[in-house]
Symmetry: C2
Subunit: 418 residues, 2 copies
Amino acid sequence: MKTSHKPRVVVIGAGFAGVEAAKKLGKQGVNVLLVDRHNYHTFVPMLYQVATAILYPHQIIYPLRRLFRRLPTVNILQADVKQVDFHNQIIYGENLTINYDYLIIATGSISQYLGVTGAPENSFPIRTLTDAIALRNQILSCFEQAAKVTDEDEKTRLLTFVIVGGGATGVELAGSLNELIQCAFKQDYPSLNRDKGQVILLQSGEQLFSSYPQQLSKYTEKWLRHHGVKVHLNSKVSKVTAEAVYLEDETAIFTDTVIWTAGVLAGIPEIRQSVKTAKKNKIIVEETLQVCQHQNVYGVGDVCYVDRQQESFNGVAQEAIQQGKTAADNILRQMRGESPKPFNYVNKGRLAIIGKHAGVGKIGKFTIKGFIAWFVWLEVHLVYLPGISNRLGVFSNWLKYYFFGEGAWRVIISRVKK
Amino acid sequence: MKTSHKPRVVVIGAGFAGVEAAKKLGKQGVNVLLVDRHNYHTFVPMLYQVATAILYPHQIIYPLRRLFRRLPTVNILQADVKQVDFHNQIIYGENLTINYDYLIIATGSISQYLGVTGAPENSFPIRTLTDAIALRNQILSCFEQAAKVTDEDEKTRLLTFVIVGGGATGVELAGSLNELIQCAFKQDYPSLNRDKGQVILLQSGEQLFSSYPQQLSKYTEKWLRHHGVKVHLNSKVSKVTAEAVYLEDETAIFTDTVIWTAGVLAGIPEIRQSVKTAKKNKIIVEETLQVCQHQNVYGVGDVCYVDRQQESFNGVAQEAIQQGKTAADNILRQMRGESPKPFNYVNKGRLAIIGKHAGVGKIGKFTIKGFIAWFVWLEVHLVYLPGISNRLGVFSNWLKYYFFGEGAWRVIISRVKK
């Protein structure tokens, strides 16, 4: 593939930031190549609902080629980008060499296991759609196994689910998994006792949702405890094995399922030149989102750390979307010979769901909690989810789930061969 | 697990025959244990629509625990049965020993590769849901790869799909895959030329659909050819490699995707005693469906060959359902001290779909073809598909597919780790 006379913008990563940038540029007729390892976009905030069999996998994704069908200057390439050369303006993949004039790095984040022995091999991440499907299969397989075994210790181990990390993903998953246990045992596994199934949420710090006001953290903690989730604060994990998780105080919790939501690292491809990075391996970008000293390269979303901005970012979709938009705008400005403008984040608020009819949120200076936050969460996510058929499907599954305790089929569609 | 005083019927396999038998027995309050390696029932006749991205995987399955929720004497066990001991009336699985009073073997069929070198390793079967998902991923990955490569030979190989076997599955898949290529190239891969994509259907005999009247076979052949499928009759495969399929006349067809629909074998667990088998390794059963010399063991569906009956069976759902019903009836008779009755097959007719708005069928002495057969096929399958939400979902996908050429998302949700 060769660069045409018209400048080509390559966008690596089709998450919130990458898709937004490609859309904006495509609408202006700019020649864009969007590269992702999958041929679909994933609506990450609802992954946990796939893992807990509320939704079907296809309902939270959208095919990239369909998403950009009406923007003919945007091309899609399914590939894994291995290396980037800023100097020669080339990205490399397997049997793949692509030139660019402008580059947007929007490769998101990967799990960070914080040096905990055994964590990468023995715990389940929940960052991609296939992670969510694997986790659903694991949880349901534990139920099926538990319905078979007679040994009480084994049954307890199978029905103990440990979630590491008390951020939004950890909390949302804890509430949802706890509900799954309740509904599934009652409806599908009459031989299993509700009390046998337990969800343990381990948080290293002294409050859940560290980025929320303390009042909301307290509310969340109380709500989860009241509904049967075992919340352990100040609990640092020291080791994970195939059958247990160990805390720093030497406590062992026997379990077949450890879910890791604790840490993230920027997921950057190898870069031939040296770039300045901040904590979590994030690329330091200027206020314009340009990578320092490489004015035709932008870093957006979870991969970047914006220098000189007071606000700290939390890796939520809104930040990524707005950064994607800014990067596209700035490239358009550069193409016109103007200079890029600094990124300006408009915080529309944050929301998290805890469980059935309960959520927490912070919109501007106002905090909301309980039913209203739950309701707003559902509505906002339905509106942002791409695709009418996805929205209809999710809405219908939510109705089924909230009224009858059954969203998606609780089936184990396991390992696809080949 | 121990046998209670109430006699226990163990049913191995939750296909059409096994599910029907378990239902019938459960409705009479009989103690049933239904064992399957999956925790769901698969509506096999529509697998090819999952493989060609018309339907979503979950739309053609139904969770077993949900299916039997209202029949409390039917218990479900997800396990792989390894061995059966007729003498001691025990079935064995991994860490599993289960006693039975009556046994129904309904384990269906597996692919038979007819001794063709390389076929098991290098071809895609389409017998289970995971097979269908793997095949969809393969087909779509070939499209994605082809959109990337510049070498014309490689592109041709990627876009050549060879189907071995001209029975119902082979024909239905050929028509559907041909349509997928048309729709997907037009909508998603504007850089790929329609003529590059080809579907080749290899049939060893001299007509497609060998069990249908010749007139329908001819119609099917003509229809497929007219729509661009390359039908090769009298073509026996001698070898399959990772990059080609070889015919007995030494012709080589270069392809990355060989789909095997040619032969079946009965998929029976190991039996400690010797049993009489017929062709395709089927267990010979008496007219009552009892296994010869083992009056408390029944063989139903694809695993059995009914002795002394004139009619030859084709492995369609109707046969399995009716046999499941008869086996259950006969067990109920045995429990009451009566003697079992012979199986009597009521042939309700057969139908196959070829492509958009075309099908063939034989109902009683009448043959139907074209639009009417296509329409009846859709209706019959919609009625037989278990679950209202599945029916609604499938109906909606069919509308989308037949009006807009897009049923399910054309996404590659590949290998689920762990």
